[in-house]
């Protein structure tokens, strides 16, 4: 080990991986509904695409998590965005492409995608 910078470089790289594990209260949470209906509507593809997008953009404060059926089966795949101290937003019919857009617009720029909202979030 030659320098602190070298150590910090290793740390930065390793932290990305550990981000999932060290998630705390203050982070942005994206919940993807993974009930049977969600899965059959393509929720898993959406989830994978969003995970990829988060990784690609190297977002440290966002965790993505799956949940059971969110109760709006007509609108699957469903994605809920929880930003600390903000109202939770529930999006419906989120395709992989729309999922990426949610990250780009809502998470990064704070623009809520009104046309994708399908109802009140429960939690």
């Amino acid at each position: 080990m030659k320098s602190l910078e070298e150590l910090k470089a290793i740390r930065e790289k390793a932290m990305k991986k550990l981000n999932v594990r060290t998630a705390g209260e203050e982070e942005i949470k994206i919940l993807v509904g993974m009930g049977t209906c969600g899965i059959s509507a393509g929720a898993r593809e959406t989830l994978t695409a969003m995970v990829e997008e988060i990784n690609n953009r190297n977002l440290q404060n966002v965790v993505i998590s799956q949940v059971g059926c969110l109760g709006n089966c007509f609108g699957e795949p469903i994605v809920q965005v929880n930003i600390p101290n903000q109202k939770s937003i529930l999006y419906g019919k989120v395709t992989p492409a729309k999922g990426k857009k949610i990250i780009e617009k809502h998470i990064l720029n704070g623009e809520i995608l009104e046309d994708l909202i399908i109802g009140e979030a429960f939690h």
């Binding site: 080990m1 290793i10 790289k13 991986k17 999932v20 998630a23 993974m34 009930g35 995970v51 799956q66």
Partner: protein
């Protein structure tokens, strides 16, 4: 690097491994593979979570779900439900014994709520066999900062200011110990890590070494820099194969990255670490005995002075610190001495790990701030006494500690308060006893241990403890007299006063403290030939008439 969306942290401590956590890891991977989720979910074997009572444990992140008592056969359900469908597996959640409700999240569990994890900070969080994970949680940053920005004396002053005291039992201020070794000029000095955890039931050092070995390596290098040593030894008992395995991996990884070896962080500082195996003799926890053992001699103590700081390993200035002490060092450096001294009591700073055991609902390793009340540890973290029986005593400090009674449960515990009530911190053993435990028998049990573990060097410990044990045996056989009780006190006091090392100086503690607090019970044994707890065979088993 592939970043999975789900991390399953499976406890890989010795306790959970013995409950098939290895098979569980394999089963999880197998099922994940079968369902095609291997790329999305990573299964990580971590260090001990401390809640050994309920092992094997899986924590799923980022969902923050804590599963307990997971069997390999549960792997399929966890994948099918939790991974695929995002549903918690309800019956694997922890059932809070007091409130009788299921708890999902670790920090909502009463076992963890009051804990403050500094020494155990990475246990259950990172994969101890992967140095990068340690680096991700700021590992080796303290070493880097120390080497590139601080002088040895500044490091020593910082540790002194933090108020950290030795966690192995003695409670000697760590910074001061470093300073003494620093002051003795010599071309060769040594840092020794005492990993000869010998107290029966105590396993905090093992857990740290298994779950976060790099924190100890890093701290040893920092200590080496502070005192002027380029070589460190970890004296570890050979009965800790998993800890040895992980230490060996950690040492070779650290060497590979140049975090051990020559010219660390491109400075003039060189440091390397070697393991030395002990045969698990209790007395080898005493630093001079430990040093004799490292040198290849018989593990028995020498008269102090000279202290190791003046003349230790191979007659060179040496500094011996315990595993848990070392584990506290990196955070102290990174977060500053004020942060550390802000936790704890006036004279005992930071946290202490206790091995909570005995007749308590939640058995395991708990780390709490100094000054926490025993009552909180037992009734909140520990979930109270098992089977709703009445608490009789708490034994702290291992076999040479003393017993604490119900009346003393609200004393904030630290080094000094424990000493003042006739017990000690020791390495952090904490055994809860209920009304079915016979205190005479308990003290006989402890003496049996110390009598056998005595190195046999000095007279009071070698013969005195034998005689104490004989008198206790006589009492538990119903042949004791009131005079024997006085004899126990006289002899016990003399052994404490005259023995050569800490083992003998504390071995009578269980007898003396139970005699003080439970004299009535002793009297029942010798006068009425009655063992109220019904433990001592051959004696009657009646509730004594309350004389109060």
């Amino acid at each position: 690097m592939k970043n999975s969306r789900l991390h399953m942290l499976v406890c890989g401590g010795t306790g959970c491994e013995s409950q098939d956590s290895n098979k569980l890891v394999n089963a999880l991977n197998l099922v994940l593979d079968k369902y095609g989720y291997k790329d999305e979910v990573e299964v990580i074997k971590t260090g001990c979570f401390g809640f050994c009572e309920k092992g094997p444990i899986i924590k799923v992140q980022p969902d923050d779900i804590f599963y307990v008592e997971v069997k390999p056969k549960d792997a399929k359900r966890i994948v099918e439900e939790h991974v695929i469908k995002g549903r918690k597996v309800e019956d694997l959640l922890y059932n809070e014994p007091v409130k009788k409700e299921k708890v999902e999240r670790q920090h909502d569990m009463s076992f963890y709520k009051k804990q403050v994890r500094i020494a155990l900070r990475n246990c259950g969080l990172i994969n101890p066999e992967n140095i990068e994970e340690y680096i991700a949680v700021d590992g080796y940053l303290a070493l880097g900062n120390v080497l590139t920005t601080m002088t040895p004396m500044e490091v020593i002053e910082l540790v002194k200011e933090s108020g950290l005291r030795g966690r192995g039992g003695g409670g000697f201020p760590t910074g001061y110990k470093w300073e003494l070794t620093y002051q003795n000029k010599n071309d060769l000095k040594f840092i020794i890590c005492n990993a000869d955890e010998g107290d029966p039931g105590a396993f905090m050092d093992r857990s740290i070494l298994e779950g976060d070995p790099h924190s100890v390596l890093e701290a040893m290098a920092i200590a080496g820099y502070a005192i002027g040593a380029e070589k460190g030894y970890i004296y570890i008992r050979a009965e800790y194969p998993l800890a040895i395995h992980r230490l060996n991996i950690a040492i070779s990884q650290a060497r590979e990255l140049g975090l051990l070896g020559t010219r660390l962080f491109d400075t003039d500082f060189n440091f390397d670490i070697e393991l030395k195996y002990g045969a698990g003799a209790f007395v080898c926890g005493e630093e001079t005995a430990l040093i004799n053992s490292v040198e290849g001699g018989r593990g028995e103590p020498n008269a102090k002075p000279p202290f190791p700081a003046e003349s230790g390993l191979w007659n060179r200035p040496s500094c011996v610190n315990n595993v848990e002490t070392f584990a506290n060092i990196p955070p102290i450096i990174l977060k500053g001495p004020k942060w550390f001294s802000g936790i704890g009591t006036e004279k005992s700073k930071g946290t202490k790990v206790f091995a909570l055991a005995g007749k308590v609902n939640n058995v395991g390793l708990v780390e709490v701030p100094m000054g926490t009340k025993l009552r909180d540890i037992i009734y909140e973290i520990g979930g109270g006494v098992r089977d709703n029986l009445k608490l009789k005593a708490v034994q702290t400090g291992g076999p040479s500690g003393g017993c604490i009674t119900e009346e003393e449960l609200d004393i904030p515990i630290d080094y000094d308060s424990l000493k003042s009530i006739g017990s000690m911190m020791g390495s952090g053993g904490m055994i809860v006893m209920d009304e079915k435990d016979c205190m005479v028998n308990i003290s006989k049990f402890y003496l049996e241990f110390t009598e056998e573990e005595s190195c046999g060097k000095c007279t009071p410990c070698r013969i005195g403890n034998k005689r104490l044990h004989e008198i206790l045996t006589k009492i538990t056989n119903g042949e004791g007299t009131e005079e024997d009780l006085e004899r126990l006190v006289t002899l016990g006091d003399m052994i404490k006063d005259s023995s050569l090392c800490g083992l003998g100086q504390t071995s009578p503690n269980p007898v003396l403290s139970t005699l003080k607090h439970f004299r009535e019970e002793y009297l029942e044994h010798v006068v009425n030939k009655n063992c109220p707890a019904g433990v001592c065979k051959g004696l009657s088993k009646k509730k004594p008439v309350n004389k109060q």
